[in-house]
Amino acid sequence: MLDLSYRTEGEDAEGEHVMSMNRRQFLRLVGVSTVAGIGGTAVFSGLRNKGLEAVQTMPDPRALTAKRWGFVVDISKLQTDEDYQKCIDACHDIHNVPDMSSLPAELQKRQEVKWIWKDTFEHTFPTAPEDEYQNSELKEKNFFLFCNHCAEPACVRVCPTKATFKRKDGIVMQDMHRCIGCRFCMAACPFAARSFNWRDPRPFIKPGKENKEFPTRMIGVVEKCTFCYERLAKGMKPACVEASNGAIVFGDLEDPNSEVRKIIATKYTIRRKPELGTQPGIYYVIGGGEHA
């Protein structure tokens, strides 16, 4: 056992014994207490933890899987504003995205929450070459925009809490439990794909229209398109794909035989701001028309 008799040979000026120990005794004491400490905690925590590790988790067997999910968007298949609105509504209703249209106009734009939206060619591809004789369809039509689920997502790099992260299947996920609302990701995202909840979103979800199977968000968190991870897990297509009448195609970008890869291989497609090097996973067919 431990020898604690380190009362020593030394005496002080008055000739009384003093407590002191030499280096060897000190080191021995430190070593033994470290071992006892580590061993003790292990025994204690081992006793306390009664068996959550006995069970296991696994993915849903119905789930659609891929190495890297991506979209191909062909706007030539969208004719009217309703075609666009159908996709936007499908997404926003299913995900309980608040509708801020009841706010005063100047707040509406600033506090808007969107997972999928539309914008002009000029805004979608600000760095793409463009001239006055260009195809008028390109110039006048709206493009669908969502999170690009980049291969090198800037938002993930800056998130201080790892609330946003890249899943194994390439989806850039947002973990609302961890988000602290610092909005670094919004500053980092070159595609403005992220929205901040400036106020409690619940009153802005049409009463009775909320999807009871999906959570809402709370004030102070950032949200965005999640590639319908919760639908893929059940073997369903993303909501916008389902509502898009073929204008949005989804698939595995790393599988050469997937539908998206076949389109990308045969049509002319562009991505948003490729020069930034984030490797967006959304491809836009340009001049699709009869082929795509």
Partner: protein, 137 residues
């Protein structure tokens, strides 16, 4: 002792002030929480069993829910295999609350008693009860 009157009076006031919460609540034991499992779904079950044993759920449900959350959100695994070998979909809003549709009489009963405020319901939609507004925290 100088000013003993003031000091002693002050001490008595101080002691009364500090012990006031205890004195005022003396003899008034608040009712023990009785979480209810009286819901339509549970009443229809032949064997009333949760995903794990009652004792386990009682002491470890918060840990279980944390593990479920991490598994679903971080790893994308949605199926939980319990100790009996059955598969369950991990979802607070769907799996748990499908049976325990009485949040106020089940969750809140103990949470209020213990003074804990889990912030599940700021995002997860609680099942509709008689007064749905109160669920919205």
């Amino acid at each position: 002792m100088y000013d003993s009157g003031k000091i002693i009076a002050g001490l008595i006031v101080f002691v009364l002030f500090v012990t006031f919460p205890f004195l005022s609540n003396m003899g008034k034991a608040s009712a023990k929480p009785k979480p209810s499992i009286d819901t339509p779904v549970i009443n229809q079950m032949q064997v009333k069993k949760c995903v794990e044993s009652k004792e386990f759920m009682r002491s470890e449900h918060m840990q279980l829910l944390n593990n479920w959350r991490d598994s679903v959100v971080r790893n994308g695994d949605r199926i939980y295999v319990n100790k009996a070998g059955q598969s369950v979909t991990m979802s607070l809003q769907n799996t748990c609350m499908d049976c325990h549709s009485n949040k106020k009489k089940f969750c809140d009963e103990c949470h209020n008693y213990m003074g804990v405020k889990p912030y599940c319901w700021t995002c997860h939609i609680a099942p509709k009860e008689k007064m749905p507004k109160e669920n919205m925290l």
